[in-house]
Every structure is written in C-alpha cells, then in structure tokens.
C-alpha cells in the first residue's frame, strides 16, 4: 500500500516531485480511512437505535451509489486520458509563447484540461513565470486548473442542473479573468514601490 502510494506520487509529480507532498498525501488518505470507519460505526449505531429511519437512509445511499457507478468511471477515464495525452511539456510550450487575447484564452483552456491535481500546477506556473509569461495569464491558468475542469463540469451538470452549472461557470470565468488582471496590476504596482 505504502509502496503503491509512493509510486503513484512519483508518477503524478513526474520530475517536479517533493517529499512534503508525499507525506501529506499519505496522511490525508489515512485520515479519510479513519473518518470512513468512524462514520460507518455512527451509521450502524444510529440505524440500530432508530430503525424507522433505515429505509430513507439506505434508499438515499443506494441511489447515490447507482448514480456514481454510472458517471465516475467515465469521468476518471477521461481524466486519465488527458493526463497521458496532454503532457506538462506541451502546456508549457504553448503557454510560454502566446500573448495578448490569444494567450489569455490559451491559459484558460490549458487550465481547464484535466491534466492532473492542483499541486502539480504550481511548479508549472512558477516555471512559466520564470520563462516570462504574464502574471495575469498565470493566475487565469491556475484558477481555471483549480475550478473549471471539464469532466468535473459534466458531473456538476448531472447533479446540480444545467442552469446552475452554466451560470456559475460563466461568472467564474469572467471573475477569474478579471482577477488575473487585477493581481497583475497590484503586483506591478507593489514591485515599483
């Protein structure tokens, strides 16, 4: 298990691995397992004391299990495909050269592709900054990476409905672009001082 976790981290971190992250990931998984056991015990005890609530609880849980079986494998396969076919090197190559509106849209799109967890986006962003990319584009890239992942949005569409997802998504995109330029301005201003 530990061996596996290590391998997994090495793979997802590729060249830019760091040891603190490894420990964190392991602790996180352990913590989740402990919570899982705790919540199973709680559920068993609660349902033993209040058997009249059993039907509703089990119904809700089994409905969710069915939903997840229908949707999660496909989403995870899509994410796996993206992380294999769109490498970090490709993202950096495209983003390093682009500028203007094109650069902005490219940052948004590159961020939206599900190429991996957020913690590998930070070293990429810092590398891009060193290569001379705009601060605004980096912020847009990071924020899109964090909150506008394409397969994830399909899950949001499924569970929250089209109106919720489209409105939240469009405002998020607008605000992320605005934030990119705002942070760039603040950054320039404070560097001048």
């Amino acid at each position: 298990m530990n061996e596996d976790a290590k391998k997994q981290n090495q793979q997802s971190g590729n060249g830019m691995n760091d040891k603190s992250k490894m420990g964190q990931q392991k602790n996180n998984n352990k913590g989740n397992l402990v919570i899982l056991v705790g919540i199973i015990l709680t559920a068993v005890i609660l349902l033993a004391i209040y058997p009249e609530n059993k039907a509703a609880s089990i119904n809700a849980s089994s409905d969710l299990i069915k939903e997840l079986i229908l949707i999660l494998p496909a989403v995870l396969i899509l994410m796996g495909l993206f992380s294999v076919w769109v490498s970090k090197e490709i993202v950096i190559k495209y983003m390093g050269h682009a500028s203007g509106i094109k650069g902005m849209i490219l940052s948004l799109v590159m961020g939206m592709l599900p190429t991996g967890p957020l913690y590998i986006a930070f070293p990429m962003a810092s590398m891009l900054l060193k290569k001379g990319a705009r601060v605004a584009n980096i912020i847009i890239f990071l924020s899109a990476w964090a909150c506008i992942k394409l397969p994830q949005e399909l899950v949001e569409l499924r569970f929250m409905g089209a109106r919720f997802m489209f409105i939240r998504l469009s405002f998020t995109i607008i605000m992320v672009i605005f934030m990119g330029f705002l942070i760039e301005k603040i950054d320039k201003y404070s560097n001048k001082k």
Partner: protein, 163 residues
C-alpha cells in the same frame, strides 16, 4: 435511478476517447487506465464517506432543519460560513457535487451551494504551502483572498438569478 442525457454523453465520450487512444498508442492508453484506477482507489474512502453521509442526511435530518441552517434566510452569514467551510475542506469536487445536490434538495439555498462549491474548488488550504513556495506569499494571498470574495459575489448573484 435516472439515466439522463449527461450520463450518456459522458460515457460515450469516455468510450470514444479510450478507443481512439488505444488505436493511436496502446502503451499510453494502458497508462491512462492505470491513472484512472489509481485515482479511484485514492478517492475511495472519500466516496464511501459521502455515500454514508448523504444516506444519514436524508434519513435523519429533516428538510426543515436544513432549511433553517442553510436556507435563504441565513443570508450573507450563511454564504460566508459556507465559503469558509468550502475553503478549508478537502473533498474531491467530483464527490462534492452529489453532497451539495442532496443538501439543496432538502432545503439549502442555491447561494449557499454555489459559495461552497466555488471556494471548495478555487481555494486550497492544504495546498497553500506549496503555492507559497512556488509563487511567493504575495500572489498566493492575493489569489486566495480575491477568490474568496469572488465566491461570495458569485453566490449572491446566483441567489438572485436562480430564485
């Protein structure tokens, strides 16, 4: 169980994607499937937690209580609290959507849901140290701070638009 158009589209995309990928490059496709398997194993405990949590929520907590705690009348305070919870928690967002959906179904307001989802994805307490090391304190605090304000703003707008 409702099989709807979204479910069909996602599965068709996945099947087309993986078939095309195998056609192009077998090794890479196997690797993609391995990554998918590994991330599902990594997510498994969290998925289990959410499945049981949703069951308990629907079985034990009355819609009245949820409406009282997370409903519209909690106003801006409810939104800010939801934003803080979303910023601190580390739930894979894939799993957070069904949880939020069941809360909304039993009476939580749209604003609270939007605030929670937006900070959950945009702000990472756990990843703050990495972000600071790679991009510096200034950019990290600005990005996370402004994201928080944006989340509250989006939540308020959505509360008005989706009433």
């Amino acid at each position: 169980m409702k099989i709807n158009i979204t479910v069909i589209i996602i599965n068709i995309l996945a099947i087309l994607g993986i078939s095309f990928s195998f056609y192009k490059n077998r090794g890479k496709s196997v690797k993609a499937l391995k990554i998918a398997l590994k991330s599902s194993l990594k997510m498994a405990p969290a998925i289990g937690i959410i499945i049981i949590l949703v069951g308990l929520l629907m079985g034990f907590i009355t819609p009245e209580l949820i409406t009282k705690l997370l409903g519209n009348q909690t106003g801006i305070i409810g939104i800010i609290l939801a934003s803080i919870v979303g910023a601190v928690l580390m739930i894979p967002s894939l799993i957070a959507f069904p949880l939020t959906a069941s809360l909304v179904e039993s009476g939580a307001s749209i604003s609270v849901a939007a605030a929670f989802i937006t900070t959950l994805t945009m702000i990472g307490f756990v990843t703050l140290p990495i972000e600071m090391r790679e991009l510096g304190k200034k950019i990290t605090f600005l990005r996370n701070g402004i994201s928080f304000i944006i989340a509250v703003g989006i939540a308020l707008i959505m509360g008005v638009l989706l009433k």
